[in-house]
Amino acid sequence: MTMFPRNTLRTTVLLAASATALAACSKKAPEELPPPPAPAEVQEETTAEPSGPVVGTQQHFENAVGSSTTIYFDTDRFNVDSADAAALQEQAQYFARFPQLTFTIEGHADERGTREYNLALGERRANAAKNYLVSLGVGTDRIRTISYGKERPVALASNEAAWAQNRRAASVIIN
């Protein structure tokens, strides 16, 4: 069982806070973004031996980068804009800190596209995120991409706010 050294936890808190700040000032972030997960160290402060999520889990990644695990796209677009770039920089820092990790970028589209085109669009979005991470120094062989097209929405309504949440590339640590 891997335990957190105290100084790593402090870094995690700072990263999560800055990610939240970035998301808040982003023009493009969807209106109904889920709140970032509560920092895990609150409980850990009270325990003698902290036992939060371990490195190599999605929870650990989310605790570290907050909502920056996922980037969002405009309709039919796949370009990485400034808000996306900030989120991907958070991810790149995390993966630089844990060079043993490999991960998957899942590309998604909203329901307002045809099924086959959206599969191709999701693949394009996942690759856009991957290419940006590679440009920041993350090894290309650490990143797998997969497209789910419009088959796996996270927001279930049929309106602009839901569609904005579904046009995404989500980095996922599968263990």
Binding site: R112, T114, E116, A120, L121, R124, K130, P153, S158
Partner: protein, 472 residues
Amino acid sequence: MKPTLLALSLFAAAFSAAAFAQSEDLSEPLGEGGPVETTGVEASGEEADQGGLSFTVTDESDWTDIGVAIPAFATDRDQPTPANADGTGALGREVARVITANLRNNGLFKPVGPDSLPQPSFGQITAPSWGSWSGRGAEMLVHGYVRARDDDRLVVGCYLYDVALQDELIREGWVVRPADWRRAAHKCSDLIYARLTGESPFFDSRIAYIAETGPKDNRVKRLAVMDSDGANHRFLTLGSATALTPRYSPDYSKIMYLSYVDGNPRIYVYDIGSGKQQLVTENSNPTLAPRWSPDGRNILFSMAVAGNTDIYRVPVTGGQVVRLTDTPGIDIGGSYSPDGSRIVFESDRSGSQQCYIMNADGSNQRRITFFGGRCATPEWSPRGDQIAFTRIAGDFNISVMNPNGRNLRVLTSGWQDEAPTWAPNGRIIQFFRTERNTGRSGLWQVDLTGRNERRLPTPVDASDPAWGPIRP
């Protein structure tokens, strides 16, 4: 005896395939009945006049008004048959019901079925009791019989009469396995439809599609098949892996479809007889949008390499993969012209999804759609004269145009109508309609007039219909 041997070997293949099928998300293999044997039937009292129709068909509004009486098919001797627990007499009534439902559900003619008509005797099948039918206002009369042979096979005879002229228009008979009795009813429906309209048949055909269950954010999507009227429904995959976008091969021996069974979106070629499947191409890239060439020898598919999707071609037997498009945009969803010489496909190389045509070797790529909105999922009609597609202009609607991109006609008006597939005769289009918010979907069909639209019954929600050709 040959057919028995064939059946046994199919069974053996099915048995051996079952063990490993589970890990591939596959159900038991389906097995196909094979061709239906056509047989001569007894001539009616008056020799058939092959000279053409006794009325003039000018347009569809005329022939849809024709009253057709379809009483129960007779039997020479009521015998037990595996096709019906109550014997060949009851089966004859079922055959007439299937024919009546076929004609009624597709908005063809004004059929009256066996449940509201007197039942003719076996002898009257070839010598109709004209007086009793002319009094019922039916212009056309369908008679037929069912006879069980000693080898359990069924002989089904089908006759079409013009009541006013007291004349036989056409007759045909088929020998079918008891399990294939509905195919004889579809063959008879096709005979009637083709004789009265001059169009090619379409009833004796099958549909592959995706059956959907579960909530919007966790849909289970399974490969399924059924007859053109929804009967003989079968699930081909178990649902542990998402299946999408099936296409029947022109000879019904295989189905291509996309599956996430290994965790990635990949096209598999599923062999219906053996229940085995293989990747369309051994490659680590995602493969999408499978399509058959009209002769069944080549497979058209799209592949994403480093995020860029292009259209490729590969022989069914494997071998050289040929890249047909090479633009930086998404090129996907090719569909061959019936003669195999050209391919219509969609591309966003201009900035939005539009439809393009190229030669089968990839040369001479040119955009054909310039009307407002986007053009997606183009499908070339089996007749060659039209291209059906999803028109995206706010909502998604099924539309048709000429192969030169002109004469746009919007046929449907749902919120999200997507992915047209043609009936084998190019007169009817099926598609799937998705409901706003719930994400629930169903199969629908519309004829080329746009007037006859209906939902197809499926056991659960459904999408991605793929209509196969007329069966042999």
